[in-house]
Structures are given as C-alpha cells and as structure tokens.
C-alpha cells in the first residue's frame, strides 16, 4: 500500500469481511430506494471530499500550480503526518465520548526521551524508538486508569497530563534542545523508501501505487461478492464503479507525483498502515464496535455486557502509543528534541476529528473522516503559506473552517430530524 491520497485513505476496504453499512453519520447501509437516496444518506462523507477537492483546486489555481507540484505534495504528506497520526487515536477517544488534551505534551515528552536515550545513554535508535512507544503506553495507562477506573472526566485528567508531561519533557531535556539524531532515526520522519533508477519516475513508488489500486479493487469486489452471498442489498453498482475509478485515478496520480520527486516517504507507509488497520478495527472489530456502543449510550453498553472500563482504559493506552509514535516522527523530522515540541498539536488533532464529522457527544465519527479533516487543515496551512498569508490570518481562517464544518453537521442533523418527525 503506498501513496494514499485523500480518497484512498477513505476506502480501506476491510479484507475478508464485507460490511454492508458504512459507519458513522451516513448510516444507511442497505439502500433499497436506489442511488439517489443512497447518495443523500452519504451526504456528509461525500461533502467532506468535495470540500477537500475544492480547497485543493482553489490553491492549485491561486498558487499557479505549486500546490500539486511533486515536491509540494511530498512535503504536504511529510509535514502533516504527525497530526494525521494523532487524529487517528483522537477520533477513537472522541467516539467513545472522551477527549485527550495531553497529546502535544506527550509528543514532546517521548521526543525528549528519544533524545536522551540516543544521545546521552547511547542506546541504538531502534531500541530507543521501541522504548518510547512503551513509555507512550505507560503514559496512556496512567491517564486511562484515572479516567476509566477512578472516574475522573478525561478533560480533567488529560488537562493535568498536558501540564505534567510538558514539565516532564522540560525536566528530561533540562530545558535544552537535543540534536542531531542518527540518520536511521531521522528517516522515520523524513526519509524515503530506497529509490531504484536514477532518472524520471521512481519505479518502486509506481509499483506500490499499482499494488494499492489492485488491493482496493480486489477488496471492493470481494465485499460485494460476500454481500451477494448473504443476499444483502449493496450500494448501487454504478456508484461503486464511479468510486473505484475515481479512487484508483487519484492513487495513481499521487503515485506519479511522488515518483517524479523522491519517491515514497517512509512516514506515508506508516500512515497508510495505521489508516487501514485502525479503520478495520473501528469498523469491524468487536473492540471498535464496543467503542461506538460506549459513545452512543454508555449505560446501554454496560448493560449489554460491554466491559466499558476496560475498553476506555485500552483506548487511552492506544492514544499514548500513537502519541509516542507521532513524537518519534516529529523528532525525526526536525532532527531535534525540544521541550516546546508539539505545542498545540492536541488542538489540531481535535479540530481534524471534528471537521471529519465526529460528534462532540460521542458515538459518531470515522478514522477516514478524521484523516480527511486533518488533510483539509494541512492543505489550508500549506496553501496559505505558499500564498504568503500571515500566520494570524491562517489561524483566523482555520477557526472559521472548523466552525463551518460543525455548523454544516448540525444543520444536516436538524434537517434530517425535521424530515422524519
């Protein structure tokens, strides 16, 4: 799987198990009234893509083609990777009805520990990286304990974590910065898969693009076959074909763009694996379904035999590991461990999740939605920077986009409610 474009990111078809209803707000899984109503049910997800595409095209035109230039696409992926990684963990926490404000500080703390372990203790970087993930898990277990078993609201626990782990990062680094890091470690954040060939298009990236396309079509068809076997209604065939053609075209286009620059960023492979795995977990695993059940109605989940405390605990452990991974990527990319690293990352990740259609009250949201939300923020940042828009205006515009996205959700929900009752 390589070169996930926005669209590919939203189509990680579960291998093996077909699922007849898309998760989240679209809700309508067994369309019986044809394509139109099917698409109407998917309005939120489709709208999100259209918004992303419109934004990309807008910047492509206003920046005279710089936005989709190979080097910029490569940079976009690399520079937004850690926010996208955080958004994956964050959307799961938010679906369960919680929040995590500490992720930025945990990024700093794990980055700091990586610096300390590699440069001061002289540990080999792969060992340090694994230890950092363990530290992330411990941080998550600490917060998860207070939230799940002690019953303190996540907002409070992670606000405390935000302060405490920022302090811990500063203590670990003794308020100094650590640099440089070994090349291997830096590659996690900024490296590329080894390139073959020297001129023109880098073949490995193209091959990965083709493999990804074939995998997408294969899993899509397999899902349809399974649903047919169970005699279940499926999405309209025309829509399926349109979606596939569009997706494959995008994957190959991004593949070509990356191939004509330096190839496939390693962090993109990491991200693609995370998106596929976590989408499957949230869509089809018992654990993921329990997360939705807890967010939708905690009491009902409890009385249905869901081990709500354990699920909540594990969610925060997972968030800790993901934060640590984001910390490794960020530190590697900057080639620097800094006590102020990751400042405000939690807000970007949370914004991505809500732009991606998650509900503040829990129970609703998708991994892919959060990724697209994160990409929208990333492209806004990138495009406005190229256009030379000042950071003050960038912040202003991002704020308005977040508000508009959620307002659109609320509007949609109200319209849906008034049409049924």
């Amino acid at each position: 799987m390589s070169a996930p474009s926005p669209t590919q990111a939203t189509e990680p078809k579960p291998t093996g198990t077909g699922n007849s209803s898309p998760r989240g707000q679209s809700g309508s899984g067994n369309p019986i009234t044809g394509a139109v109503s099917y698409l109407a049910g998917q309005l939120r997800q489709i709208g999100l893509f259209i918004a992303l595409i419109v934004i990309v095209l807008f910047f492509q035109i206003t920046t005279n083609g710089i936005t989709l230039a190979p080097i910029n696409v490569s940079n976009l992926v690399v520079q937004n990777s850690y926010i996208l990684i955080l958004a994956i963990g964050m959307v799961m926490v938010i679906i369960a009805g919680h929040i995590d404000l500490s992720v930025g500080s945990v990024v700093a703390f794990t980055g700091a520990m990586a610096g300390v372990m590699i440069t001061q203790w002289g540990l080999p970087w792969p060992v340090a990286a694994v230890l950092c993930l363990v530290i992330g898990a411990l941080v998550g277990a600490w917060q998860g304990f207070w939230i799940a078993y002690f019953g303190i609201p996540a907002f409070i626990v992670t606000l405390a974590g935000m302060l405490a782990f920022r302090g811990a990062a500063q203590i670990a680094l003794q308020n100094q910065q650590i640099s440089p890091f070994p090349q291997g470690f830096r590659n996690i954040g900024s490296g590329f898969l080894p390139a073959f060939g020297t001129t023109g298009y880098e073949p490995l990236t193209l091959i990965l693009g083709v493999i990804a396309s074939v995998a997408l079509i294969g899993t899509g068809l397999r899902g349809r076959a399974i649903r047919r076997k169970y005699q279940l209604e499926d999405e309209p065939f025309l829509w399926f074909i349109t979606k596939m053609v569009f997706t494959v075209a995008l994957v190959m286009y991004i593949g070509f763009l990356l191939a004509s620059y330096s190839g496939t960023p390693i962090v993109l492979v990491v991200l693609a694996v995370l998106v596929v795995v976590y989408s499957m977990v949230m869509k089809n695993s018992v654990f993921g379904r329990h997360v939705y059940a807890i967010g939708g109605n905690l009491h009902a989940a409890e009385l249905s035999g869901v081990k709500t405390k354990r699920v909540t605990f594990l969610l925060f452990v997972n968030m800790g590991v993901i934060s640590a991974l984001a910390g490794l990527v960020f530190t590697g990319q900057l080639n620097l461990a800094s006590p102020s690293a990751g400042n405000g990352f939690e807000l970007d990740a949370i914004a991505a999740v809500f732009i991606g259609g998650a509900a503040v009250t829990g129970g609703i949201g998708t991994v892919t939605g959060a990724i697209v939300g994160g990409l929208i923020i990333g492209i806004l940042n990138n495009g406005m920077s190229i256009l030379g828009v000042g950071t003050e205006y960038q912040s202003l515009i991002k704020g308005l986009v977040l508000l508009a996205a959620v307002a659109f959700d609320v509007f949609n929900k109200r319209r849906a409610a008034s049409s049924t009752k």
């Binding site: 695993s285 009385l303 008034s418």
Partner: protein
C-alpha cells in the same frame, strides 16, 4: 358556545412525506377534564404541539379558537400568555435549581433586574400549597422524587395563570400513590376552573377522571365519547383506538412448566450511596423452564433494584445471596458473567439503558452477543445484517431496513429491538422490566405473544410490571414485593388485584412469606 374554551377546527399538519394530522377537530368544554386517546404515533402529541405553538401558526392548516376567538400562536410564549400551558412527558426541570427557581424559571420575580428572593420563595410556597406539596421551596429539584417533580411542573403552570392545562402522559413515570394524588389534584384544579387536557395510555385513569374522551387514530379524529353518558368501558375506548375489537388484551396461553431453572436465595442489597440502607432484604425467588413469573410491587419497592443487582451487580453495594441455575451455583457478579450464565435483563428505560439510539437496528440487535458474530475479534457485518433482518421480520419491527436508526422508531418497535437483542444472546432466563411501558395497545399484544413464545421455548421469564392487569393477564405465578421484601408468592389461579395490592403494601413490621 360560551361554554367552549377551546375549539380546534380541521387541523392538518404535514411533515415531508407524512400527513401527521388530517382535518382533526377537537372541542373542549370549560372546566372539564378532556382526555385524548390514541395509539403511539396516532398524532396526539403533534396535535398538542400545534395547540401550544411548538409548531407555529402557519406551519399547519386549520383554525384554533380560544374562548371563541381565533388565535395564532407563534411560539410557546404566545400560548402561555394566553393561558395554555403544556407539561411534557419528559419533565423540563433544572435538577440543580431549587423548586422556587424552577417555578419561576423564565418568569423571574425581579426588581430592577435583580431576583426578589423573598417574593420568589413566598409565591412558590403559595403555589406549592395549591398543588398539595409541603416541601420547602428552596429544596433542590434533584432531591425530590419524580412524583413531586410532576407537581412542581403543575405549580409552574399555575404561576403562569393557566386556563387550559395540557398534560402529556402525566402518570407514565409515577407509582400508583403518586398517580392517585396527581389525579386528585387535576380534579381539584377543575374545581378552581382550570380546564385540563390529558393524554394518557392508562385507560383506568381516563375512566376515573375524564369527562370526555376524544379518540385519535392515524391522524384523524375518530370520535368523542361522553364519559357521563352511560357506561363507557375500557374495551369500548380500545376498540376506537385500534379500529377493531381486541378480543382479549392478552393472548391465550397454556404454559408447560418444567424443571426449576433459576433460584435466587437470601438476596440482600444495600443502597449504592448509603450502605446502611437495605433496599432488598433476604429475597427468595425462583423461575422454572417455560414459566412466566411476575413481580408486582409499588414503585420504590425495589423491583428494578432486585433485577439489576442480580444482573451483574448493576445496582447497589453490599450484595449478598446466592444464585442457582438448574441447582448449581452461578456467578453473576458482572454483566458479562451474568450473560454468560444465561441471564438477560431488558431494562424498564429502553432509551436510557437499553438502546444506542444513534445507531441502527442491526448493531443494537447484535449488541450483547457481538462475539457470536466475530471471528478473531472481527465482526462479520453481512452475517449481522442477516441476523437482524431475521428478527425484523419475525418480531414485526416496523422499519424499512435493519439500517434504520433506533432513535427514530416508535416505543413499541424500540422495545422489540431490545427484546431481539436479548433473544439473540439466547439466555435461559429473561428478566423483563416493564416490557410494555409507554407502548400502545396493539404493540403490547405483540409483546405478550413474544413473551409466551419465549416461555414455550423452555425459557424462564420474569416480568416486572406496575400494571396489575398485565401481570394477571400473562403470568403463571406472581411474587409481590414490598419495601424490598418478597411478601407473597401466589399462583395465578389464586391471584386477584385485591390480594396483590394487600401484599404489595404490606408494612415492614409483619414480614410474611406465605404461599397462598
């Protein structure tokens, strides 16, 4: 027509795709108690929302005359200013404010922008006296029971100089005592010249207090019956509501009772916040295969607490006692273990504790037995849809597909989803807590049929209900529960409402565990 306080003429209200009300007419005489009956979804609540301005004038066709004058309410404030006040089924009180603050919420007794606390509390006390509530007006609403909260709502309505009081299912959440008190209050308000419109499923209450009954079915007025003109029986009202004669409200059923399935011995439960308070005291009960056992008790007797404490210690602390299944001791200390041991508990509050309302039917049906559909931790979604579809058909759940969101279903259909969920978990014993609460007559019959089928499959069914006729209609045996103690265990042949009531109200001093 000086005696007519309200006339609604040819009211038609259309939602996209549905005609909720069609040419509905309603005429209410001054000083009367006028009941409105109809199955769920018949349009009763919609009609009241039209009347109270929740649906503003212009969003519906037809005319509303109040005291002979045409009125056009744009919102609730308009209707309240005209003396029309609606009290919704779900109470709209702010729990952490005092009774007085709630009564004057939105209508604060102030001087120069500052609250006049003396006047607020004094006036509130006066209003409380009128509704027969002796609590201090500075008590927080969260500290008084649901029955008293309902009275606070009425006091609030009185503070608005109400002429026409609309009560939507006022006794749905009340126990018999509180209900009786509320009905008395409505009658005494009638004496004070306040006209009431009461929406209720409880036909015995309607018989007791209503002067007239208007029956609505499928968004149309069917008839208005004068309760004083001859004997209007409950069956007569039901006939109007369902549009057919319901031969019996309870399906005929012959239980074939097998070996003992579940036995609960010496079950004692303490209050979760006050460990010194005993909620259940040394309860003993049993259910056999194929048997339908009822638990009768007043609200507060500990019915739900007993069931939930057995089901994974979901209620209470300091729980002691033993649960046996087929004579062997079983562990029900967590919900997961209780389910694994073959026990299911369908809650009395399906919206709060039973369903994930934002999720669809299939995911709710699979909710308590998801692992049955999973391989290596991953759920087979197609299998899940198939299973849910099977229940949608067999339980007659009225929804286009199993992907329909449960929050949009009617109460009866939601209850069927809850039952499907537990049937799919395939337990040996089902504890059904108020399985027909807030459900219309037709759907109740279907639920009773399902309960009978479960018993016929050899499962033990325990039904907790506030409605004695229901227990008498479907059970093979009934336990009475009073103040946390099982006071009687009576086979259906010997059970009468009088007998049950006697033991449901038995005082603690004389604990009897008699076999009648």
């Amino acid at each position: 027509m000086a005696n007519t306080i309200l006339e609604m003429r040819d009211i038609t209200k259309t939602f996209p795709g549905v005609k909720a009300l069609q040419d509905v007419t309603l005429e209410v005489e001054r000083g009367q108690v006028h009941a409105i009956c109809g199955e769920n979804g018949a349009g009763k609540s919609t009609l009241m929302k039209v009347l109270s301005g929740v649906y503003p004038a212009g969003s519906f066709d037809g005319q509303i005359l109040l005291d002979g004058q045409p009125v056009e309410f744009k919102n609730i404030n308009d209707s309240e200013a005209a003396g029309v006040v609606i009290i919704h089924q779900e109470l709209a009180l702010s729990p952490f404010l005092s009774i007085a603050e709630n009564i004057f919420l939105g209508n604060e007794q102030s001087k120069g922008g500052f609250i006049d606390w003396n006047k607020t509390n004094l006036d509130a006390a006066g209003l409380l006296a009128r509704v027969g509530l002796r609590d201090n007006p500075i008590t927080k609403v969260t500290d008084i029971g649901v029955g008293k909260q309902q009275l606070v709502e009425i006091a609030k309505a009185l503070s608005k100089k109400v002429k026409l009081l609309i009560l939507d299912e006022p006794t749905a959440a009340l126990n018999d005592d509180d209900s009786a008190h509320l009905l008395d209050l409505i009658k005494s308000l009638q004496g004070q010249g306040i006209t009431s419109i009461i929406i209720s499923h409880k036909l015995n209450e309607i018989k007791e207090i209503a002067d007239k009954v208007t029956i609505i079915r499928d968004g149309k007025t069917i008839e208005t019956l004068d309760m004083h003109a001859g004997e209007v029986s409950e069956d007569r009202i039901i006939k109007g509501m369902v549009g057919r004669d319901l031969e019996s409200r309870y399906p005929a059923h012959e239980s074939s009772i097998g070996e003992e399935l579940l036995r609960i011995e010496d079950w004692t439960v303490h209050h979760p916040l006050d460990a010194s308070r005993e909620i259940i005291h040394q309860a003993n009960l049993a259910v056999a295969a194929g048997e339908i056992v009822g638990i009768a008790g007043l609200m507060g007797a500990g019915r739900t607490e007993l069931a939930m404490s057995v089901f994974g210690k979901s209620y209470g602390t300091g729980i002691s006692g033993t649960v046996y299944k087929r004579g062997e001791k079983i562990d029900t200390s967590t919900v997961t273990k209780a389910i694994a041991a073959g026990i299911a508990y369908a809650t009395e509050d399906r919206k709060k504790y039973g369903l994930n309302l934002i999720d669809d039917i299939q995911r709710n049906v699979s909710g308590s037995a998801l692992r049955k559909l999973a391989k290596l931790g991953f759920v087979n979604g197609s299998e899940e849809s198939t299973v849910a579809e099977r229940y949608r058909k067999s339980m007659n759940i009225k929804a286009p597909t199993v992907a329909a969101v449960t929050g949009k279903l009617s109460g009866g259909n939601q209850q069927k989803v809850v039952l499907s969920k537990w049937m799919y978990a395939d337990p040996d014993v089902l504890i059904l807590d108020e399985p027909t609460r807030g459900i219309d007559v037709g759907a109740k019959y279907e639920i009773y049929t399902i309960i009978n089928q479960l018993a016929d499959q050899g499962k033990g069914v325990i039904v907790i209900s506030s409605e004695l006729p229901e227990l008498l209609g479907i059970c093979d045996r009934i336990y009475t529960l009073s103040e946390g103690r099982i006071t009687a265990d009576v086979p259906i042949a010997d059970a009468t409402p009088e007998f049950l009531l006697k033991y449901m109200t038995l005082e603690r001093e004389s604990p009897v565990n008699e076999r009648a």
